[in-house]
């Protein structure tokens, strides 16, 4: 099959999820950015959901790795592998057909890392490789008109990092990032269960508990019969070493999350403090946009609104906002500061 030689591809290189958008074909890949590699041969065993299922369950012959940890690149070679594998999976093995590659990156990535990513694009044979900050793409993908002379604030609570950004005239005015997000919440839940219940649980279990029970303010989540929701957690007893099951209550998860959100709160205030007054004034009207997977935790919106005293909106597409933004940016031919096309 002969393919067109001018495909544009957008990639959201997130800590927890990898999304790939191909122009004209939509978002073709939306799976965890986890890769499983055969240690002996170095071959890729699986990527995405299949690799995530293996996390914490593998034997010594397979290594499960996350190429991005805490929002930074921990292994550029693995990123190349994961990109090649996924592009192959979505029938884009012919890299020559890709004309333009746009990669969304976290805010506080260093210049060296930026160059490494662009270099990666070149290694794949794609000359026209560009990178964009995720918060900008996220805002664009959520339908915010970032090109007007009006301040907007975006908070992206993702897997590895929580990014804070002030946008105006189509570009990031200032941004801050903190390595406290989804993964950190999971880790804190694991630690909590370990200290309080003397039970060791895995990443997958912790994430499940977070998704089922988490809430930050307001009433605790209830099931259909109005009974408070609880979650079962199975793991290994620290003392006896035997498998054991416990019940986790929503109150406990909230306690853990609230302590996690303290640093997020202080960075939020620091960001607002540094915002130029004219833009800070705009925020009173335009409010704060929340994106990223963890913005779906019930009560986050109210929590942030309470701190900042300004309206807070949830993105309608928290998971795909960045890739949707990449999609829009791929369509733009040059840099627009003032109005959208």
């Amino acid at each position: 099959m002969k393919e067109k030689a001018n495909l544009s591809v957008g990639v959201d290189l997130g800590t927890s999820n990898l999304l790939i958008y191909v122009e004209g074909q939509g978002t073709l890949f939306n799976e965890p950015s986890i890769i499983a590699i055969d240690k002996a041969t170095g071959n890729v065993v699986s990527v995405g959901y299949e690799a995530a299922k293996l996390d914490g369950k593998t034997h010594s012959k397979v290594e499960v790795a996350r190429p991005l940890q805490g929002g930074v690149i921990s292994d550029i070679q693995l990123i190349k592998e994961i990109l090649l594998f996924t592009l192959d999976k979505i029938f884009l093995s012919n890299l020559q057909s890709i004309n333009k590659l746009l990669i969304g990156i976290p805010s506080d990535i260093t210049n060296t890392e930026k160059e490494a990513i662009i270099e990666l694009g070149h290694e794949l044979g794609i000359k026209n490789t560009e990178i964009e900050e995720e918060i900008k793409a996220g805002a664009l993908g959520s339908g915010v008109d970032i090109f007007e002379a009006l301040g907007h604030m975006v908070i992206d609570i993702g897997g590895g990092t929580t990014d804070f950004g002030i946008l105006s005239l189509g570009e990031v005015v200032l941004s801050k990032s903190i390595k406290i997000a989804g993964d950190f919440f999971d880790q804190q839940i694991i630690d909590y269960v370990k200290t309080v219940h003397r039970l060791e649980i895995g990443n997958q279990t912790a994430e499940r508990i977070k998704v089922e029970l988490s809430s930050l303010t307001g009433p605790y989540p209830v099931d259909e019969d109005d009974k408070p929701l609880v979650a079962e957690a199975m793991g290994r007893d620290l003392v006896s070493g035997l498998p054991r099951q416990i019940i986790i209550k929503a109150e406990e998860v909230r306690e853990v999350l609230l302590s996690c959100f303290d640093p997020i709160k202080s960075i939020l205030l620091a960001t607002l403090e540094e915002t130029p007054p004219e833009l800070a004034g705009d925020l009173v009207d335009s409010g704060i946009l929340l994106t990223g997977g963890c913005s779906q935790i019930p009560g986050v919106k109210e929590y942030i609104a309470e701190i900042a005293q300004i309206p807070v909106y949830l993105s309608e597409v928290p998971i795909t906002a960045v890739i949707d933004g990449c999609k829009k940016m791929l369509k733009m031919t040059n840099r627009h500061f003032y109005s959208e096309i």
């Binding site: 105006s168 915002t275 130029p276 004219e278 833009l279 800070a280 004034g281 009173v284 300004i310 500061f337």
Partner: protein, 342 residues
């Protein structure tokens, strides 16, 4: 013969103010009337926006754009930006070649008390645009002409021009300026004072666009001004979070009064130095107010109460200076030639 040369030559009148740039082109009228602000792309140095669009960007830009006001306190402070802004404006004129520019006569208006160097910078600016025939005129003279006053009679006229960067006060008679003074107290100074006031009393920081808006919306010097309270957005200095501030007409009045009192002091100072024969004329015909800040409500009455002569705001306070260049281009500022009769 004069008519023939006028046909060949283009006439360009420029009012390069701190707040607004106005350009008059002979036979076309006013071709540009927008804030004197320009925005550059830092990387490429290209112009992103100018005028109204750039003004809206003030205080709202990211690192990739720099927004520049080429003038500060009535004089050019950023030559590169001033040149780019003028180039941008001239670029809008159709069929304008460099050859045309070399044949252009250009008049630039400036505040009254500027140094020789500052005037030379203005001429330099025009030279850089490849305009060879440049002369500088004082804003008050042009303003008086533009507002329709016949200054070529031997009758004293007093003009007070409260603009963006400077306030000029001058007495004109027989086609030229008898005496004039300038202080750096005008629109942008008032904005700064309002910003300071809000910071001091409410602990809220506001940007320059907001303070300008406060001045325009709430500025009122009438003794029995109706108290209006408006809501503006800024940033709480203590907590750092965005916050609404409430500001009333009375508060703005309290801030503006000291500024206007200084202007009054300048006006009385000029009146004191005016030759008595001209004083009599001024007493009879009063004072003309021009410039953007003369549009603040109650200014007329405020001056009248304190100086005891009739005060009148001209019908075109924002554009009178550039409209006056139309006449100045005809007589090159020569007091012997009355362009009103040409």
């Amino acid at each position: 013969m004069i008519a023939a040369t006028v046909q060949d030559k283009l006439g360009l009148g420029i009012d390069l103010g701190t707040a607004n740039l106005l350009v008059f082109l002979e036979r076309k009228g006013i071709i540009f009337d927008e804030p004197a602000v320009i925005a550059f792309d830092r990387e490429s140095g290209k112009i992103v926006a100018a005028g109204e669009d750039a003004h809206r960007m003030l205080g709202k830009v990211h690192d990739k754009i720099s927004v520049v006001k080429p003038l500060r306190n009535g004089v050019i402070s950023d030559m590169r930006a001033a040149k780019a802004l003028l180039n941008y404006v001239l670029g809008k004129i159709e069929n304008l070649t460099e050859k045309d520019l070399s044949k252009t006569t250009c008049v630039i208006c400036c505040p009254s008390e500027v140094t020789k160097i500052e005037r030379d910078v203005m001429i330099d600016l025009a030279m850089k645009m490849k305009i060879t025939d440049v002369f500088i005129e004082e804003e008050i003279k042009s303003g008086a002409l533009g507002s329709g006053v016949d200054i070529f009679k031997s009758k004293g006229v007093m003009v007070v021009d409260i603009g963006g960067g400077t306030t000029d006060v001058g007495v004109i008679s027989f086609g030229d300026i008898v005496l004039s003074r300038t202080i750096r107290r005008a629109g942008s100074f008032m904005d700064d004072e309002i910003t300071k006031y809000v910071k001091k009393t409410q602990n809220v920081e506001i940007g320059e666009l907001t303070s300008e808006k406060m001045k325009i919306e709430l500025g009122d010097l009438q003794v029995e001004a109706k108290n209006v309270i408006n809501r503006y957005a800024g940033r709480d200095m203590v907590k750092g979070i965005p916050k609404w501030v409430m500001l009333s007409t009375h508060e703005v009045q309290a801030v503006l009064t000291p500024v206007f009192d200084e202007i009054i002091k300048l006006v009385t100072g000029v009146l004191k130095d005016t030759p008595p024969e001209l004083s009599a004329d001024i007493y009879k015909h009063g004072i003309l107010l021009t410039g953007g800040c003369s549009m603040i409500r109650g200014v007329e009455q405020y001056f009248q109460d304190r100086i005891q002569v009739p005060v009148k705001v001209v019908h075109n306070p924002l554009t009178c200076v550039v409209e006056g260049t139309k006449y100045l281009l005809k007589n090159r500022g020569d007091y012997l030639v009355n362009p009103l009769q040409l």
